[in-house]
């Protein structure tokens, strides 16, 4: 299951989507919104994506993971729009006959998603400023009246 959603991620539904009597192991990863990053306080996040490409890249990730490891089901869900503190922005679940494959594939999926899937995060800092996060690129602080 591949999903980009504006809604809160339903972890029960994510776990149900990978359940199988062939599975001996399920690994679920949740990326959650941390309040402090290097001592700076976050109020919330906003996520934006290039939808068609993000969907396609997530489908490629699933296909690649299935080629590399023995997996039964793979689910990738990424949240878009406004995400509050402590909430999950991404959920990755895999089921496998064996736990080694489930852990390795789960970690590879989140590592690779973060490298290649066209989704962007805006940090809304507690001090009222906000900025798009673009690793390696000089920082831009957004005006509060970002048009989107």
């Amino acid at each position: 299951m591949i999903e980009l959603t504006q809604d809160t991620i339903n972890t029960d539904a994510v776990l149900d989507s990978v359940a199988s009597t062939e599975a001996g192991a399920v690994v679920l990863f949740l990326g959650t919104t941390r309040e402090f990053t290097a001592g700076r306080q976050t109020a919330s996040l906003d996520y934006e994506s290039y939808g068609e490409m993000a969907q396609r890249k997530m489908e490629e990730l699933e296909a690649d993971a299935r080629r590399r490891w023995s997996l039964i089901e793979v689910t990738l869900v990424h949240r878009l729009g406004h995400v509050g503190l402590g909430e999950a922005s991404v959920a990755i679940a895999v089921s496998s006959p064996h736990r080694g494959d489930a852990f390795t594939a789960g970690q590879w999926l989140i590592d690779t998603l973060k490298e290649i899937v066209p989704i962007w995060k805006k940090e809304n800092w507690a001090d009222g400023t906000s900025e798009w996060v673009h690793p390696g690129m000089p920082t831009t602080t957004c005006p509060e009246t970002d048009p989107k």
Binding site: G31, E52, M53, V90, I110, K122, H134
Partner: protein
């Protein structure tokens, strides 16, 4: 030829619009598109070295030749997850 370029995140914000329309020569490459964008939209100039280009929802190399009708997007460094 005229192409539309989709923008996201800080690139969208710098240009203050979601798509740019730009005139490039027939046979222009991704590299040439980026140079042209920097000249016509100064707000993008400092970002260009960090931007990738996607053609039809696939990452494109710098030497890839653009064609009319393709779906073109500027992809700043991603930060999902």
């Amino acid at each position: 030829m005229n192409i539309e370029v989709k923008l996201f995140a800080a690139a969208r914000q710098a240009a203050n619009q979601e798509t740019l329309s730009i005139e490039i020569a027939e046979g222009a490459t991704v590299q040439q598109l980026k140079t042209e964008l920097g000249q016509q939209f100064p707000g993008l100039k400092t970002m260009l070295d960090h931007l990738l280009v996607a053609i039809d929802t696939e990452y494109a190399g710098e030497d890839q030749v653009l064609q009319a009708g393709q779906d073109i997007a500027l992809i700043p460094p991603v930060s999902g997850g």
